[in-house]
């Protein structure tokens, strides 16, 4: 997985990236190919994530002897499954140099819609696809405002963060629905065929493969990288930038709505306030996974590693009896900022070192 970002990015996009992104984050991206040695020293982002995860295991075990049990894996991955689902399409959105902060509100709206339709007497088998379609429409609303009106996705999705959550409350108010049929809640809560792997994680794995193939092995995925690296260049090389971006927002909305269905069934509770604040963890997972906030770089594999790491940290903090669970917010927020700040500082230090050690003529920017 790690090597994909380089291999699938079109040469055009790579050139554009080298020329157009002075503000890039990670040291290995803007170092020219000739500087393989430096790249090897800096190491791949994914290597760092694996190392951190390995470090986390004994620490987690020291915090609580329950940490390294299959039970803890099952509950931990269940609690993290919705975040993980939403992180997949958001990875593509961020690679295309956009952002979707409204995912948690779409999740809430989906849950509220599910509750209302269930109260209305519809069968769950019909409600679930309806919710996902509604989520897709929410995503299309974001996407159309971004692509047709040319509005910044940050501002649009801050607005829809409020709007969709507000609509969720309009739909169902303070009520909640808890009487979903046991067949479905068991499915959402249960494990896959006698293993310790929850069904929702199987669902995540299937979607992760689909999104990884979409991003790393299809022309569509290459276009996403090209748009993120240099939108203008992508447009002039004939890519349908607006349509591709719209598709990404629709995917993001639809998967967020699916996550809303999953969380409602899993907790047997559908309400408007489900998942408030999830956007922080989702965005953190994506950026911690090595996806550049400036677009054009990132892998699904990295994001999956980041999800494992984040989920592990949260589980360890939850299991701990001496550490308050409020630390989760602080740690997650810090990780979010660090995942962009860290590479920036590394780049600064290595730039300064290079300026000292090599001839200044090599340092003239293109």
């Amino acid at each position: 997985m790690p090597a994909e970002a380089e291999s699938v990015t079109t040469p055009a996009a790579d050139d554009a990236a080298a020329a157009g992104r002075s503000a890039d984050t990670t040291p290995d991206a803007d170092a020219p190919r000739s500087r393989e040695g430096l790249r090897a020293i800096a190491g791949r982002w994914e290597t760092l994530l694996v190392a951190l995860f390995i470090v986390l295991l004994p620490i987690g075990q020291a915090i609580s002897p329950e940490f390294l049990t299959s039970d803890s894996f099952t509950t931990g991955s269940l609690d993290f499954s919705e975040i993980a689902l939403m992180a997949l399409p958001l990875t593509l959105v961020v690679v295309a140099a956009e952002i979707d902060l409204s995912v948690a509100s779409v999740l809430g709206l989906s849950s509220a819609l599910m509750a209302t339709l269930w109260n209305g007497g519809l069968p769950l088998e019909l409600i679930m696809p309806l919710c996902i379609v509604a989520g897709g429409l929410c995503g299309a609303f974001n996407g159309l405002l971004v692509t047709r009106l040319g509005l910044p996705s940050l501002a649009v999705t801050i607005g829809t963060l409020a709007l969709f959550r507000g609509l969720a409350f309009v739909v169902i108010g303070d009520d909640s629905v808890t009487d979903f049929p046991a067949v479905w809640t068991d499915r959402a809560f249960g494990n896959f065929a006698g293993t310790a792997v929850p069904n929702v994680i199987v669902l995540f794995a299937v979607l992760a493969v689909l999104f990884a193939v979409l991003l790393h092995f299809t022309p569509f995925g290459r276009s996403v990288f090209a748009i993120g690296a240099n939108e203008e260049a992508a447009f002039y090389s004939g890519l349908r930038v607006k349509r591709i971006k719209l598709t990404l927002f629709v995917l993001s909305g639809a998967v967020a709505a699916l996550a809303g269905v999953v969380i409602s069934l899993r907790n047997s509770t559908a309400a408007a306030n489900v998942g408030v604040g999830f956007e922080l963890t989702v965005v953190t997972a994506v950026l911690l996974g090595g996806v550049s906030i400036f677009g054009g770089r990132g892998t699904i594999g990295g994001v999956i590693l980041a999800l494992l790491l984040l989920g592990g940290i949260q589980k360890a903090l939850l299991l701990s009896e001496s550490i308050s669970s409020y630390w989760i917010q602080i740690v997650t927020g810090t990780l979010l900022v660090s995942s962009v700040l860290g590479p920036n500082l590394v780049r600064r230090v290595s730039d300064a070192r290079r300026r000292h050690s090599t001839q200044p003529t090599q340092e003239v920017s293109p």
Partner: protein
């Protein structure tokens, strides 16, 4: 943004004319908000006359005051093409600190509490500012992170406790509920803040430099503006004002727990943008943002008085934000086209 670019690019005779055209557009924007405000007041008053009694108006002024202060700070940040999502959490921290301090030491001078609250806010803002300017991390990422990190700190600090009005000195609570010559004290404070920040932004060099940074970052740098420093201080000011708002929040409500100010960031950003501060940076004024805060609070109050489901409030805030940025964009495009036509006429 684009309008200011055009003016900067063409400093000759057309420049003055273009500036008049742009200024006219923004005057219209502010008048539009005032008009919407008046219409809304009249409509609600006709539907429910109790809406315009002294008590209800006082409540409206008190609510709008806190948001106007936050909006003034947010304006400074948005004008530089950044955003501060952490203001609600900073408000919460300062609010709890003020309550906690005064409960423990009721004899503490109120100005000292205000200064401490602003200092705490400024420290939070400085952290945001350092990360954005020195760390070169986008403001969205930084303040989304600190939005939750600061809130987490508030939860750790309060540890489930709550400050109650009974434990607070009366002199402090009077700050939140009292009046000066019939005008609520909070509204007077908000007015002073808005005028001071508004004039500084309008007439002072540092203020104009903030516009320059947001309008054309590269141009500002080439013109010798110390962008990093200015953006840093914009975040510090936003934090300090959020701290002030936090202290006033405690004075107003008396009861404070770790959730004080949750979700305020959405209302504040919405108010600021509705008030004509373009999310693309470089345009807008503190007065517009304050009017936006007043309008949003009036809408919220009207919804309650008109017995519209309170659940519509958040949806309305989001919808208004979207309408405002869409409107800004469309007007910006029109204005661009108009300015281009004019300069083409001159040249041709």
């Amino acid at each position: 943004m684009s309008a200011v670019d055009a003016t900067a690019a063409d400093p000759t005779a057309t420049g003055g004319e273009a500036r008049r055209l742009t200024e006219w557009v923004f005057r219209v924007r502010e008048l539009g908000i005032v008009g919407a405000f008046v219409l809304l007041m009249v409509f609600t008053a006709v539907m429910e006359p109790r809406f315009v009694n002294a008590d209800s108006l006082r409540n409206l002024a008190l609510n709008a005051a806190i948001f106007a202060i936050l909006a003034a700070g947010q304006t400074l940040v948005i004008i530089t093409r950044n955003v501060d999502l952490s203001v609600g959490s900073v408000l919460g921290l300062a609010a709890f600190m003020a309550g906690d301090l005064l409960s423990a030491h009721p004899g503490l001078a109120i100005p000292a509490v205000i200064v401490l609250g602003m200092a705490l806010g400024a420290a939070c803002g400085a952290l945001n500012g350092v990360l954005v300017t020195f760390g070169q991390v986008p403001a969205l990422v930084v303040t989304l992170g600190t939005l939750y990190a600061f809130r987490g700190v508030a939860f750790l600090w309060t540890d489930g406790r709550q400050v109650n009005a009974e434990t607070l000195p009366d002199a402090f609570l009077n700050l939140g509920t009292g009046s000066i010559l019939g005008v609520p004290t909070l509204a007077v404070i908000a007015l002073v803040v808005v005028v001071v920040v508004g004039q500084a932004l309008r007439d002072f060099r540092v203020g104009r430099e903030l516009y320059a940074i947001g309008s054309n970052p590269e141009g500002a740098r080439l013109a010798g503006v110390r962008s990093g420093r200015r953006v840093f201080w914009a975040f510090v000011a936003s934090g300090a004002l959020a701290g002030l708002a936090g202290v006033l929040f405690t004075a107003r409500f008396g009861t404070v727990d770790a959730t004080a100010g949750s979700g305020y960031e959405l209302t504040v950003i919405s108010a600021t943008v509705v008030g004509g501060v373009a999310i693309f940076g470089g345009t807008g004024s503190v007065y517009g943002a304050a009017l936006g805060a007043l309008l949003l609070n009036t809408i919220t109050s009207s919804l309650i008085v008109l017995k519209v489901d309170a659940f519509w409030q958040q949806a309305a805030i989001g919808a208004l934000l979207l309408l405002a940025i869409a409107f800004d964009r469309l007007v910006g495009l029109r204005l661009d086209a108009a300015l281009r036509r004019r300069s083409a006429l001159r040249a041709g």
